[in-house]
């Protein structure tokens, strides 16, 4: 096992993992609540958070709003098949589109996977047409999402990184 100050990813122990998990679930969780869950002082938690920030493990924070209240009423996932040579171009163009919430380039069932949020069926239709007509796009499959688009981090293993990386 690598030492704390060795190269490679910093070591995340149980307390760090709890801090990260609680702040991922709710960035406004108070130091006091985190301290109680960890059984250490608020001051200790404060120091840990500062360290996690200085190590750039915590990079920032965002508030996600429900697209339904923001002029969007459907959240739709979009799968694109593209010319392999145009894949990155298409992804970059998509990423600039104001209705695209997230957009990834990869392999598997599709070449690009995106989540978009649109206000009306007409808007969805015109967006579909625009994207379908981008150079390099061969096929576009959409599925409307039923649930609100959010993440839960309760099941994510955040500690013990080195042990996993080193085998």
């Amino acid at each position: 096992m690598k030492k704390n100050n060795g190269p490679g990813p910093p070591r995340i122990d149980e307390i760090d993992a709890t801090i990260l998990r609680m702040l991922l679930v709710d960035a406004r969780t108070s130091l006091k609540d985190i301290a109680e869950s960890c059984g250490v002082s608020s001051n200790a938690i404060h120091k840990r958070i500062k360290k996690l920030r200085s190590e750039c493990i915590i990079i920032g924070s965002v508030t996600l709003f429900n697209p339904r209240y923001l002029g969007g009423s459907f959240t739709t996932s979009m799968e694109l098949l593209t010319d392999y040579k145009q894949k990155t171009n298409v992804r970059e163009t998509l990423q600039k589109h104001p209705r695209v919430i997230m957009c990834y380039e990869g392999v598997g069932r599709c070449d690009i996977f995106a989540i978009i949020s649109v206000g009306t069926m007409e808007e969805m239709e015109s967006m579909r047409k625009d994207i379908r007509n981008l150079p390099g796009v061969k096929k576009l499959v959409m599925s409307v999402r039923v649930d609100d688009f959010k993440f839960s981090y309760e099941n994510l293993d955040l500690k013990n990184v080195e042990a996993r990386i080193n085998g």
């Binding site: 991922l24 990079i59 924070s61 709003f65 990834y104 999402r145 609100d148 996993r164």
Partner: protein
């Protein structure tokens, strides 16, 4: 929703941890009002989630897996899939498949274990997958904030 709500939304959009006091000073209202407004937006579901952005690569995660799943009992499958380790989002969809599951993975071995765990959920009939490299900050840089900004601009017209 009025102008104050929108100003609060804009303030916390890229800094979910901004103290209510700072927002209050900026808007010339009391921190208590900011808190009440914030809580009520959370309750109504306008605010979905306030989250830190983490560099998951530093925690050993470098892969994002999206599973497109067909199943015979959607509700039951959702319950089971929400418990699978590394799964961060389970969404019902209307279309070619029933469920969209997003998970993070550390390595191929990790991914294969995850996939076989999903396969073993009793209601899952078929799954297909999309794999991608995880970007540095998640969800931070993957979420497009222009949507909110646009809404804000519109509200000022």
């Amino acid at each position: 929703m009025d102008r104050i709500d929108i100003c609060i939304m804009e303030a916390v959009m890229d800094d979910a941890q901004m103290p209510f006091r700072t927002i209050a000073e900026r808007l010339g209202i009391s921190p208590e009002t900011v808190r009440t407004r914030y809580e009520s937006m959370k309750e109504s579901g306008t605010i979905l989630q306030a989250s830190i952005s983490v560099d998951f690569q530093k925690l050993g995660y470098d892969g994002l897996a999206v599973f497109m799943i067909t199943c015979n009992d959607v509700e039951a499958a959702v319950e089971e899939l929400r418990r699978v380790p590394s799964v961060i989002s389970v969404n019902r969809t209307l279309g070619e498949y029933d469920l969209l599951v997003v998970a993070l993975s550390r390595c191929l071995k990790d991914y294969l274990e995850l996939a076989s765990m999903i396969e073993s959920v009793p209601y899952v009939e078929r799954m297909e997958v999309f794999l991608s490299k995880l970007t540095a900050s998640f969800p931070g840089s993957t979420i497009n904030h222009r949507l909110e900004k646009e809404m804000y601009d519109r509200s000022l017209e």
